[in-house]
């Protein structure tokens, strides 16, 4: 898959309360979750982004609570993927499980400025900064997690390999 868009750059330790504040967790509606994305950091964030845009952050993106509402809000707001220096554990796991593409690359984050246009190629494992022409490598993904992605997330994987057909 190739993801291309304008980048929106954030700092280190963006927590899931920042991605979607807990006061909005009383729903399972993805559109409603998306409507509060990054609200406490930038109330106008949703007006600025366009479908396909790429979220970029420093270390430990998605730290804090286990709420899957966070990757869901990002995905349903139309952002195509997240590139960060590192991801907090549960956020990382949730993203693979529910199908939000995420890419870890410290050098890419260093080489991307707010607003740069990037092209992320998941198969080639590269992130190209189209504004500067520089290309960066993505940290590789363990084979099992590659399988999860290919199956279309954990639930599809479970359906395919774990559930008895009745």
């Amino acid at each position: 898959m190739v993801y291309q868009g304008k980048t929106w750059k954030f700092g280190a330790n963006v927590d899931t309360d920042a991605v979607i504040p807990a006061r909005y967790l009383n729903t399972t509606d993805p559109a409603e979750m998306a409507s509060h994305l990054m609200e406490d950091i930038d109330p106008k964030f949703l007006e600025k982004i366009k479908p396909g845009d790429v979220l970029v952050a420093e270390e430990n993106f998605g730290c804090g609570s286990s709420r899957e509402h966070a990757p869901i809000a990002i995905k349903h707001a139309g952002l195509s993927c997240v590139v960060a220096k590192s991801f907090a554990r549960i956020f990382y796991r949730n993203s693979f499980n529910m199908g939000l593409p995420i890419f870890a690359s410290a050098e890419a984050v260093e080489g991307i400025n707010q607003g740069d246009e990037v092209k992320v190629d998941s198969e080639a494992g590269t992130i190209e900064n189209l504004s500067t022409g520089k290309i960066f490598k993505v940290q590789s993904i363990p084979p099992f997690m590659q399988q999860l992605i290919e199956a279309g997330g954990l639930m599809n994987y479970v359906k395919k390999f774990k559930m008895k057909t009745e």
């Binding site: 807990a22 730290c63 554990r89 639930m155």
Partner: protein, 423 residues
């Protein structure tokens, strides 16, 4: 020969049906218990149904607890809880706890003996790591993992490398598990244990009460850890033997087990700690807190809402009143803790101190309800996170501390320790 393993590796290996595992290995393992709450379970139940599943793998091993926004804070929360309640009835779950018997999940499960040493537990809540205090491997996951485990009774894990932290020496007065863990997070950072297991060890851990151990394991996730674990001992045995209704197993790290990192901490030098806004790693000793006026104090949560915490608060609040414009909210974590605190006369002390006492709920810790902060307000909380906007307005501030400092701060109307009150 089997490789030497840490306690975390041993529990994972046993549940994966393997003789040994090593850090980095991806395994599929059987879980002893899975947990969801009113925030995470509704989404998981929808996924469970979408997958076409009809029955949970074992109605005795799926625990559902409404605790975050209950008693229902608004109509939407009421609907989420109703959805979860209907599912629990339909699936005939043994361990669904309704308002009136429920408590904050991570206090309730150990109290009821549902989680035991040697268990492998996943919960759709980041503070599921709390049960590591019992010598179990427990970790937080999201709703999809919970949904999948409801069907299969299994979960996938990447075996974590272990960081061993050895706490030496005797604690100073008014220093408890909260201070040791805040100090540790301050030292290694909020991603200092990212993807890793933290093994808390040493003399100061052996001397720690069970309640304080829960506090430490609870906040392992605040250092990025996958789990926090404490080797079971006589304190553990004392705690679990009257509660367990099934067999359990004490696991121990091998003497030759390999650690990714070992850290020594001299406990004698640790004062009560305060984590300043907006990260749990932003800690200062109480003596360096300076003059910080406070609008609200919260004593409660899965981190510090247990009996020992309330007793500590009681020792400080006894015969005193909170400062005139500082609200004091005390939230016993379970009905049993609530009842016991009442029996011991703690409620009398709290009420005389002009505190409000709430039914168990996660409420204010995550800015749900029951003590939301306005713009510019500051709170001292015994909770676990002081992120921007966590307890309310994005321009409010949260200072994390132990129950003694929280209670003392309520009386002083600014951040301060019990010693300022001559205690």
């Amino acid at each position: 020969m089997i490789r030497s393993m840490t306690i975390s590796e041993k529990i994972l290996a046993e549940h994966a049906g393997l003789r040994e595992v090593e850090p980095g290995q991806l395994i599929n393992a059987r879980v002893d218990l899975i947990l969801g709450n009113d925030i995470t379970a509704p989404m998981a139940i929808e996924e469970f149904r979408r997958a076409g599943a009809n029955k949970v793998f074992d109605p005795e091993k799926v625990v559902l607890i409404p605790d975050h926004f209950v008693p229902n804070k608004d109509i939407k929360s009421a609907q989420q809880c109703q959805f979860m309640r209907q599912f629990s009835r339909e699936q005939n779950l043994t361990h669904y706890y309704e308002v009136g018997e429920m408590g904050i999940e991570h206090a309730l499960l150990p109290e009821l003996g549902l989680v035991l040493p040697g268990d492998l537990v996943i919960g759709a809540d980041s503070h599921t790591c709390t049960y590591g205090a019992l010598g179990a491997f427990s970790t937080g996951v999201g709703s999809t993992d919970f949904a999948a485990a409801m069907i299969t009774g299994e979960a996938w894990f990447r075996v974590p490398e272990t960081i061993k932290i050895i706490y030496q020496g005797k604690r100073r007065p008014w220093v408890d598990g909260k201070d040791l863990i805040l100090y540790t997070i301050g030292k290694i950072g909020v991603d200092g244990a990212l993807y890793k297991a933290i093994e808390f060890a040493g003399e100061a851990i052996s001397n720690l009460s069970m309640d304080s151990r829960f506090t430490m394991a609870n906040m392992a996730v605040e250092a990025g850890g996958k789990n926090g674990i404490i080797t079971p001992d006589k304190v553990t045995k004392e705690y679990v033997q009257s509660r367990a209704k099934r067999p359990y197993k004490f696991q121990y790290s091998d003497g030759e087990a390999k650690y990714g990192q070992t850290l020594d901490i001299d406990v004698t030098r640790i004062e009560p700690q305060v984590a300043f806004p907006h990260l749990p790693s932003n800690v200062r000793p109480i003596s360096a807190a300076g003059n910080v006026p406070i609008d609200q104090v919260v004593i409660g949560s899965c981190t510090n809402g247990r009996l020992e915490d309330l007793r500590t608060a009681g020792r400080i609040l006894k015969g005193r009143k909170r400062a005139p414009y500082t609200r004091l909210i005390i939230i016993p974590a379970t009905q049993e803790i609530y009842r016991q605190a009442m029996k011991e006369g703690l409620f009398e002390i709290f009420l005389d101190a002009l505190a409000v006492i709430s039914t168990p709920t996660c409420g204010p810790c995550l800015g749900g309800y029951m003590g939301i902060l306005s713009k510019g307000e500051r709170a001292v909380a015994t909770t676990n996170r002081n992120f921007v906007g966590r307890m309310g307005h994005p321009e409010s501030e949260i200072y994390l501390a132990n129950p003694a400092v929280a209670a003392a701060s309520a009386i002083l109307g600014r951040i301060g320790g019990p010693e300022e009150l001559g205690l």
